[in-house]
Symmetry: C3
Subunit: 201 residues, 3 copies
Amino acid sequence: MTSLLDIIELLGTLAFAYGGIVEARRNNLDLVGAFTAAFLSAFGGGTLRDVLLDRRPLYWVAHPSYPLLVFVLTVVVQVAFRGRLPGLGGTWWLITDALGLGLFSAAGVSIAVEQGLPLFPASLFGVITATFGGVLRDVICAQVPGIFKRGQLYATCAFAGAWVFILLQAVLPGAAPVFACITVAAGLRLAAVRFDLTLPA
Amino acid sequence: MTSLLDIIELLGTLAFAYGGIVEARRNNLDLVGAFTAAFLSAFGGGTLRDVLLDRRPLYWVAHPSYPLLVFVLTVVVQVAFRGRLPGLGGTWWLITDALGLGLFSAAGVSIAVEQGLPLFPASLFGVITATFGGVLRDVICAQVPGIFKRGQLYATCAFAGAWVFILLQAVLPGAAPVFACITVAAGLRLAAVRFDLTLPA
Amino acid sequence: MTSLLDIIELLGTLAFAYGGIVEARRNNLDLVGAFTAAFLSAFGGGTLRDVLLDRRPLYWVAHPSYPLLVFVLTVVVQVAFRGRLPGLGGTWWLITDALGLGLFSAAGVSIAVEQGLPLFPASLFGVITATFGGVLRDVICAQVPGIFKRGQLYATCAFAGAWVFILLQAVLPGAAPVFACITVAAGLRLAAVRFDLTLPA
């Protein structure tokens, strides 16, 4: 079970980082900007969570091979593919990004619940962890963050997953609430893309 | 006295949050964006102060009914009022916003003074607490923050209130310096709106 | 040796702050905006480093004369020079800014190494300390940060200096690695301006 979560973590991190590189390309950033965008997309949400909850070491400090991997990925993509990058609409990217959304939401809410936070703030930490990396990336691109504009559900999926985790962790032991959170968040995200689900307002 | 401060805190928080919702509407954000804008407006300044001064738990974690109230307010406004929102020029909003500006400035500078900070940095914490929620909100709207553009005094009022607090807390006990800070900051702010007071540069 | 570093620190801080004031002018900010831009340029990178590494007190809290100096500088420039400010292309500004870039990179990476961080994250802390003040300043000006756009090497110089520090501190005692970092970072920066060196991508 743990190794399955490790695989999802690796895939999710790479999917988030690649999303950052694509955004950087779209905004004509150079290698420094592309790495920053990839880094923020992959680690920004968790870093914000850890700063707000006063946890150290930060994830990318404790696992230095991850930021190094993102660095290598950025250099390779930036140097090898000069033209338009394969977009973010591909099935593989959508699935790994959705899994990352669910896993990072679970990682955020579970840490908050462990620290004894009240449930509503705890659920917000699921959303922050899963989505604020992308928010920070959009901010350095001087764009209104995509998740704040009317569109297919994204942050809402992390929010729903976080509440599934909160409800289940009270009654189920072990990793089951984490997998339920991932399933609900990723499933809702893929359904939102497939059926064009949006918020009413 | 304490309960009067509690009432000002509630009114100020709601005024700040409503200001965030109006800004979000102006920038065409959806419900996720509107809640984030409202949340940042209401709690962003205090959160930045607490992170910079290494204080935990954060205000909205220790008082979860406040962010929940902001969440409900956002959903109600976003769903019930689809058109243009009543603006921010109304007397009631101006007064509660000005009171919030004063109270949050007092909350920032008093905590900094308590921690033994030198006076100039301490006064900056009054300004940060009172105004950086709005700065963060404007940043996620990809706008130059309103308080950095020539206009009626705003941050300056928090700065003046903070110095009144600093000077008085050395000689007056209890809540008197807090009320003096609120009076000066809110009074100066309302005078700035009434008489169009601006900085010389 | 220490007093030489103190002089570089003062010059670098003033050069960074002045760069912030010029950017604020270019974006039509008022005195509040200009001070915030100057403050972020001068202290933002170190503050971000200290928050991420959980160090207190922050530099500008422990050395309150520095932010006060930046405040006075901002007021003087803002009030005395109403027109277009002397730009950032002058030799003196370029040299002091380059020295600041090198010193702040050394300050970031040395603290990270001292805390026992793995080398790649440690090198990133050199870059963050030296360059993220400018990033934060550009963000509040609602601009894509200059260091993320194709142009003469800047963050790369801090990165190179940080690695020189990392390699040398393992074998050389005292302040030598710091001076080597400053020399390499500042030298590369000035060479980049002189010979128009840019990243390949």
